[in-house]
C-alpha cells in the first residue's frame, strides 16, 4: 500500500531527506508549539519571500505569476488547486514550492483504488506492544502534493476534506493535529475526464485558489529546453526558508490591516456574483473570507501592511472562478467563469464612498 506514497527522498540530495520527526506529527497534540509564532519584521518578510520566489523562478521559467500566487496561498493558509493540461509544470511548481521550504513534504498519487486510510493513516495492531499503534498517512506533512486528485474515488477525496478544513485527522475516534504550516497542493487534469471523479462543489470550495499554469511563451520554452535537458531542475533547489520562518510569515500576514471600505468592496463583489443573472451558483461566504485572506497575503508580499482594492482584484479571479457555476444559458453563450468574474469586477464600484467624497465635502455645490 505504501507504494502510493512516494517519498521525495530518492530525488533529494544527501542530507536533505525528509525529517521524520517533523513530518510525522506522531502522537497527537503534543508537539505543537506552545505559543503562536511571532510576526516578522518587514525587511525579513521581504527577503524571505524574495528568496522563495527567486528559487521557484530559477526552476520554472516564465511563470512568476503562478509562483507568486502559490506563495500567496501558502501564506494565506489556503490550499491550492492546479488545473491544467499535462506537461505544463503543475507538479513541478508544487514540488519546487515544497522544496524551497525546509519542511516535510509528501506526495500522493491519486488513483481510483486509493483508500482513505492511505491519506489519513491507519491504526495497526502492534504485536510487540500488544496495542494499536497509529501509523500516520501521507497527509501528515507540511506540504502535501496531491497529484491527479480527480482520479481518486469520492470517498478518498472526502477524506482530504477534514484535513484541509480543520488541519486535523480523526482516525478511530482520535484526533491528530497536523503540523503548521499545512498546505495541500492538488493538481488535476481537465482533459482526460474518463474514469475520473470530478471534485464536488463542496470540495472545490475548500481550495483557496485555482491556478491554470498555461503554456510558457516562446522564450521561456526555449530557455527551458536549453537548461533542463540534462539535469532535473529540482536537483538544484535547496531550501531557502525554514518552516518556522514560514509560520511567522503567516503570522505577519494575519496582521495585515483591512479597512472598512475593502470589506465592503469584498462583500459587494460576493453579492454581485450571487445576484448575477449568468450564474447558477455564486460565491460562498467562505470564499469571501478566503478572498480577503488571499488579498492580505498579496498585500504583505507587496510590502504593505494594509490591503488595497488592487490586492482583492488581483486574486479575485483565481479565488472565485472555481467556486461559481455558470448558468446553462451563459455557458452556451460562450461565457466562462473567469469572464463572469471579470465582468463583475468591471461593474462593482471600488469604493462607493469615494464617489460621494467630493460631494460630501462641498455641500453647497451648485
Amino acid at each position: 500500500m505504501d507504494y502510493h506514497r512516494i517519498s521525495l527522498d530518492e530525488a533529494l540530495p544527501e542530507g536533505q531527506g525528509r525529517r521524520e520527526d517533523s513530518a510525522v506529527a506522531g502522537l497527537p497534540l503534543t508537539r505543537r508549539p506552545a505559543q503562536p509564532p511571532a510576526a516578522m519584521d518587514a525587511e525579513a518578510f521581504r527577503s524571505a519571500s524574495e528568496r522563495i520566489l527567486t528559487a521557484i523562478n530559477t526552476v520554472i521559467d516564465g511563470k512568476a505569476e503562478a509562483a507568486k500566487l502559490a506563495l500567496t496561498v501558502l501564506l494565506a493558509q489556503g490550499h491550492l488547486l492546479l488545473e491544467d493540461v499535462p506537461g505544463v509544470g503543475k507538479t513541478l511548481l508544487a514540488k519546487t514550492l515544497a522544496r524551497t521550504i525546509d519542511c516535510s513534504v509528501s506526495r500522493i498519487q491519486f488513483t481510483p483504488d486509493l483508500l482513505p486510510s492511505d491519506v489519513t493513516g491507519v491504526s495497526i495492531y502492534n504485536q510487540a506492544s500488544r496495542s494499536f499503534e497509529f501509523r500516520p498517512g501521507a497527509v501528515f506533512a507540511n506540504i502535501v502534493i496531491g497529484d491527479e486528485i480527480n482520479r481518486a474515488s469520492a470517498k478518498t477525496q472526502s477524506a482530504l476534506l477534514e484535513c484541509m478544513e480543520e488541519h486535523q485527522v480523526t482516525v478511530d475516534g482520535t484526533s491528530y493535529r497536523l503540523d503548521e504550516p499545512f498546505m495541500v497542493v492538488a493538481t488535476q487534469n481537465p482533459i482526460e475526464m474518463e474514469g475520473t471523479y470530478p471534485l464536488p462543489e463542496a470540495q472545490r470550495d475548500r481550495f483557496m485558489a485555482r491556478i491554470s499554469m498555461g503554456y510558457p511563451d516562446k522564450e521561456a520554452e526555449m530557455e527551458m529546453l536549453e537548461t533542463h535537458q540534462a539535469t532535473s531542475p529540482l536537483a538544484k533547489v535547496t531550501p531557502v526558508v525554514t518552516a518556522g520562518e514560514v509560520a511567522s510569515m503567516i503570522a505577519t500576514v494575519r496582521q495585515v490591516y483591512v479597512s472598512q471600505s475593502i470589506k465592503e468592496y469584498t462583500v459587494s463583489l460576493g453579492r454581485a456574483t450571487r445576484e448575477s443573472g449568468m450564474l447558477r451558483l455564486g460565491a460562498s461566504p467562505r470564499s469571501m473570507l478566503q478572498l480577503l485572506r488571499a488579498a492580505k497575503a498579496t498585500a504583505a508580499l507587496d510590502g504593505r501592511d494594509f490591503v488595497l482594492p488592487d490586492d482583492v482584484v488581483s486574486v479575485a479571479e483565481s479565488v472565485l472562478a472555481h467556486r461559481i457555476i455558470l448558468d446553462r444559458k451563459a455557458a452556451s453563450a460562450g461565457e466562462t467563469a473567469q469572464s463572469v468574474v471579470r465582468a463583475v469586477l468591471a461593474k462593482i464600484p471600488v469604493s462607493p464612498d469615494l464617489a460621494a467624497a467630493p460631494a460630501a465635502a462641498l455641500p453647497n455645490r451648485r
Binding site: A42, R46, R304, D305
Partner: protein, 868 residues
Amino acid sequence: MTLAPQRSAGTHAGRSGAAGDSGPGPRGPESPGTPKARTKTGAQPWLMALAVAVAVAGAALSLNGVLRGWAWYSPVLSTVLTVAFTMAGLRALRWHSIFVTAGALAALALILTFTFFRPNSILGFIPSGATMTQLGRYLRRASETVLAESAPVAPNAGIVLLVCAALGLMVILVDALAYPLALPATSGLGILAILIVPAMIKPQSVGVLGFAAATAGYLLILGCSHWFAPDPRTGADTARNPGQFRRGALTGAVALTVTLLLQLVVPGFEQGTFPQGSRLNPFGPASGLNPMISLGNSLRSPTGDGRITFATNAASTPYLRSVTVDSFNGDNWAPDDRDSTRRLGTGRMDSGFESAATEVRVVTAINTGQFTSPYLPAPYAPEAVNGLTGRWSWDPATLSIKGVDANSRNQQYVVLSAAPQLTPDLLAQATGPVQDVPDQFIRTPDNVPEIVRSTAQTVTEGSTTPYARAMAIQAYLRSVDFTYSLQSPVQGGYDGNGLSVLADFLNQKSGYCIHFASAMAVMARLEGIPSRIAVGYAPGRATGATVSIGGQGALPEFEVDARDAHAWPELYFQGLGWVPFEPTPSRGVVPSYATEGQAPSGASTNENNDGLIPSNAAVPTPTPTVAPLPLPGAAAEPAGASVLRPVLYGAGAVLILGLLLASPHLARGALRRRRLSGSGAGSAAAPQAWAELRDLATDYGVAPRTSETPRHFSERLRQAGALGEPQGLDADGHRAVRSLTADFERRQYGRPPSVPGVDGVPSGARPGSGTSAGSAGSAAGAGSSEASAGPLIAAVRSSLRAHAGPLVRFRAEWLPPSILAVWRRAAAVPFRAARRTAQRTRRGLAGARSEVRGALRRVRRARRLRRS
C-alpha cells in the same frame, strides 16, 4: 423558401395592376427591389418633398415687403410645389439622382413657361422662340425694377418670374443637399440664402411668419432625413427612439431661449435699420406709445407704412399733429399723459387761450387707414372732431386727442379746427409777460448741457422780443451749418431724444426733425419762451383725387405716411397762443409768419421725400471730430455721463456674459482651492487631493472609472501619455501622481493612525511601514506628504498642461468636463424625478385599476350567487 417569392410576386402583380388604373405616379413603391427596401423608400421622397416645399415656401413668405402685396405668392407656391413633387415622383420611380435633378430643372422650365409665357409657347407650356423674346423683355423689366425702385417693389411679371425661378432652383439645391448628398443640416444654407434678402432690405427684418415657416420646414427636413436614414454614428439611437425627441426638444428650447435672451443683452442695436439695429423683437412691434422713439424708425422706413389720407379746405396743407412733448427732464422724452385732466368727448374742444389773431375755420376729413396709434392726428387747433368710433378724450393743455378704449386704426373723421392768421407784426407785438401757461411748459430743465445754454445765448444775442429770439434760433438751426441726416445720429450714437442727445446734436450739427425741434424748444425755454414739441406729420403729397365733404364740395386729397413723420416746436406768445415753428431744414413748410427774407428754404416742401431716403441722396456726412463750438469744461460732464451710460451697460452685459462663460472655469478653480486649502484637517486632506487628481485627469481626458482601483487609475494616467515620459523633465508629474496615490491609499485603506498595532505588535514590525514610505519619496510619512498636496497637484497640473494639445488645454481650463458632468447630472435630476413619478403613478393607477376590477368581479359573483 419557395413560398416567400411566390407570395411577394403575387402582391406585386396585384398592386401593379391596381396602380395601372391610377397612372404612372404611384407605381414607384412597387418598383423592383427587396421588400424591405420597398417599404423604406415608400413615403420618404414624398415627405421629403413636402418638407423642402414647406421650408422654401415658408422662407418665401418673408419676401412680402420686398415685393408689395401678396399677388406674387401664388405663382411662387405653384412653382415650388411643382418642382418639389416632380422630384419626389421621379425618385419614387427610382431614377438616378442626376436624372432627378435634370427632371426637376425641366419641370421648373415648364411650370415657368406655363405661368408666365402661356400665349407665347407651344401648347401653353412648351417653350418656343417667342418665349425667349418674351423672356428677354421680362428680364429687362426686372433689371429696370431692381435698379430704379426701392423696396417694396411692385410685383411685375419680370420680378415675379425672377423670384419664381430663383426659388425653384433653391428647391432643387435644398433637395439635393438633403437627399442625394445626405447633408440635411447644410440644406439650411439654401433657406438662409432666401431669408438674407428680406433681412437686408426690410427694416423689420425677416418677420415672424416667414422665419417660423422656414424654421418649421428646416426642422421637417432634418426630421425626415433622420427618420428615414438614421445616422450610423448614433447607432440604434434613431429618431424613432422617444429619448432622441426629448433630447432634441430640450436642445431646441435651450437654443431658442439663449437666442432670445442673448440678443436682448447685447448692447446697442436698439434703433435704426439693418446694419445698425433692428434686433429680432419677440414681443411685437412698438405700440406707438412713445412717438418720439418710433419717429426715427418711421422716417427711415422705406416702406411708408401707415398711410393717412386727408382732404382739407385750408389754404395751405396743414400739419397733422397727434401729440406733444413738454417735459424736457430726464433722458427719455415721452408724451406727458395727464390722464387726470383729460376730458371725455371730442365734440367741443377749447384750449382756453384767447387769440388776438383772426381765426379761420378749417374743415379736414381724415382717413387713417392702417395707421395705429393711441393718438389721433388732427390739424391744430382742433375745436371739434366728428365721426370717430370708440371713446376719445382730449387734453385741454395741449389739445392732443387720445383714445380711451380705441385707437386710430381705420378711423374716418372730420376735424373742425381754428387756424389763427398770424403775421410777423402780430408776433412782434406779443411781448407781454407770459401768463396763464402751466408751469410744465415754462420749466427749464435742470440738467441742460452747457453747450445748449451757451449756444442759445450766442444765437439770441441782441434780439429783444420773444419773436425775434425765436426767429434767431430758427434761423440758426436752418443755417447752412446744419444738415438734415437720418443716419448720422445713428452712426454718432445719439439717435434718440433727451438732453444728452441734444449736446451731441449741437456739436455734430447733423440730425433730423427730433433734434431740430427739441433744440429749438429747449433753447426757447432758456430764453424765457414757453415751448413744447409737437409730433405728427409734415404736409404730405396731393394724391390727385378729390373727396367731397358735405357742405364743402370736392376737396383735394392729400396723403402722408411714415416717411412724413415729423416733429416741430410750438412756442407760446402771450395773447396769440401756441405758434408752430419749423427749424428743420428741408422738411415741412415754414409758416409765413416765421419766414424772413434770409430763409432760402422757405418754400421747400417735401413734395417728394427724396432727400430723406438715405440711399437716394448724397447726404454730406459730417466729420464727427469737428466741434466748432469750444466745449466748456462743465459741458463735458453730463455729455460724458451720457456717453458713459451705454458703455457702462455694455460693460455690465459683457461682464455678465463673461462671467457666464467663465463660470465653469471659476467653479473649477474654487473647487480646487477649497480642496487644497479649505480642508486643513489631516484626515480629509488626502482624499481631497485625490478627488482633485481625479478631476484633473477627467479634465485632460483620462476619466477614472468607478470600478477602477486608485492604483490602477494612477497607472493608467501615467501610461496614457498625458504626463509625458516618466523620466527626465516630466519626472515631477509622475512622482507627484505616485505620491498622491500613495497618500490616498494609506489614508483610505491603511491602518487609522489612532488605532495602535493589533496585539501590541510594534508598528515597526509591520511590513510596509518602511517600504511604502520609501516609495512615496517622503521619509517622514503621511503627515508631511499630505501637507504638500498643493505643490503636488500643481506639478501634476503643469505636467498635464504641458503635454496636452491646445484644444484639450482650452477645454480643461474653460469647460472642464469634471464640472460639466456634475452640472449635467444636476440638470438631469428633475427629468429623472419626473420619470420616476410618472412610473410610480402609472403603476399605482394600474394597481388601482386591477383592484377596482377585482372588487367589481367579487361583487358580481356575490350577486350571481345570491340570485342562484
